[in-house]
Amino acid sequence: MIYLELLFTFFTIGLFTFGGGYAMLPLIQEKVLSHGWMEMEELTNFVAISESTPGPFAINIATYVGAETAGPLGSVCATLGVVLPSFIIILIVARFYIRFKSSKAVSGVMFGLRATVVGLMASALWGMLGTVFFRSIPLAWSFLLHPEFLCSAVIFIAAVIAALKKVNPIIIIVCSAAAGIVCGLVFL
């Protein structure tokens, strides 16, 4: 049943997400894309929507995927699924958190997880780079002159500079949208 499947899938995603936010992207790519609930391009679009709306990314994506696949009840199931693991684990931890805090086992595991999260996020970025830049373009040297590639590259480089200069993400998204419309109307 789709509702149980959503609940269970997002439960797994919630249970194995550390560090929050984009650290969960590779897991979402694996679980959500393989179910056919979303495509890579849609996921990239959604990252932008999540950045421009309040609230945690995990909740936003669970609600969206749930709504798209099975309507409002689906989004309730997916959101409940992604929240439950945190909720249960924190209730347990809150009872003896002094011991948890000074636990050598926890700090050891976290030591490994902090490193893997960087690699995981880099791999999510890698997958998205592929879909954004080489979406409909044959892989040949001539793609470098393709207007779609050039437009994406210019917007991407400008946005990276802006992001590193700590420009507000929403402003970056709005400007990218405007640039996309201009490029689309002029070149595509």
Binding site: L15, F16, T17, F18, G20, G21, Y22, N45, A48, P54, G55, P56, F57, I59, N60, T63, Y64, P72, S75, T79, V82, S86, F87, I89, I90, L91, V93, F100, K101, G108, V109, F111, G112, R114, A115, T116, V118, G119, L120, M121, A122, S123, A124, W126, L129, T131, C151, F156, A159, V160, A163, L164, I172, I173, A177, A178, A179, G180, I181, L188
Partner: protein
């Protein structure tokens, strides 16, 4: 604590976290200053010194930081009902907003202008992820073990179709064993 007082606390928690959920963009770390202000400085539900502990616990347990800290503060303030109220509060704004967006997005996606806008947005969003990777890289521990785990995780997730969950479990185990071995060697990580 009387029942009446307790209900008042639960309702207060719900409202505080509703506000936090509705007014923070970018999630997770962006919420921490607001959580600190609302729960410690303004209402004294938790001590200011406790906030860094709460963040540390939220980071070392699975799930989004916002949910973890809401559940934790809710529980510490008013038990299980408090944790339910705080978590519901932090989730509700996102949930409602995205539900509305999901309804409209499909309908406007057919317009070429919207498609062009998202064409630009997709390129811009990558930059935000680049920035997130850089900031996680800065916060990670820098030594040979960490670098090996980062590179291997990247290769595993990007170029194989092996399970990401297995990878996460293995890396947690590797970190645990590594710290154990180092400690036996007389050093603390």
């Amino acid at each position: 604590m009387s029942l009446r007082e307790r209900l008042r606390k639960v309702w207060q928690l719900f409202l505080i976290f509703l506000k936090i959920g509705g007014f923070t963009f970018g999630g997770g770390y962006a919420m921490i200053p607001l959580i600190e202000y609302e729960t410690a400085e303004r209402r004294h539900l938790v001590e200011k010194e406790e906030i860094s502990d709460i963040v540390a616990i939220a980071e070392s347990t699975p799930g989004p930081i916002a949910i973890n800290s809401a559940t934790f503060i809710g529980y510490r303030t008013a038990g299980v009902p408090g944790s339910v109220a705080a978590t519901l509060g932090v989730v509700l704004p996102s949930f409602c907003i995205i539900l509305v967006i999901a309804y409209f997005l499909r309908r406007i996606m057919d317009y070429p202008v919207v498609q062009y806008a998202f064409f630009g947005i997709r390129a811009g969003v990558l930059a935000l992820i680049v920035k997130a990777v850089i900031s996680f890289w800065k916060r990670a521990d820098h030594h040979v073990f960490g670098w090996c785990v980062m590179v291997l995780s990247f290769l595993w997730a990007a170029f194989t179709d092996w399970s990401v969950i297995l990878l996460i479990a293995l890396c947690g185990l590797a970190g645990f064993v590594y710290c154990l071995v180092r400690e036996k060697g007389g050093k603390t990580p």
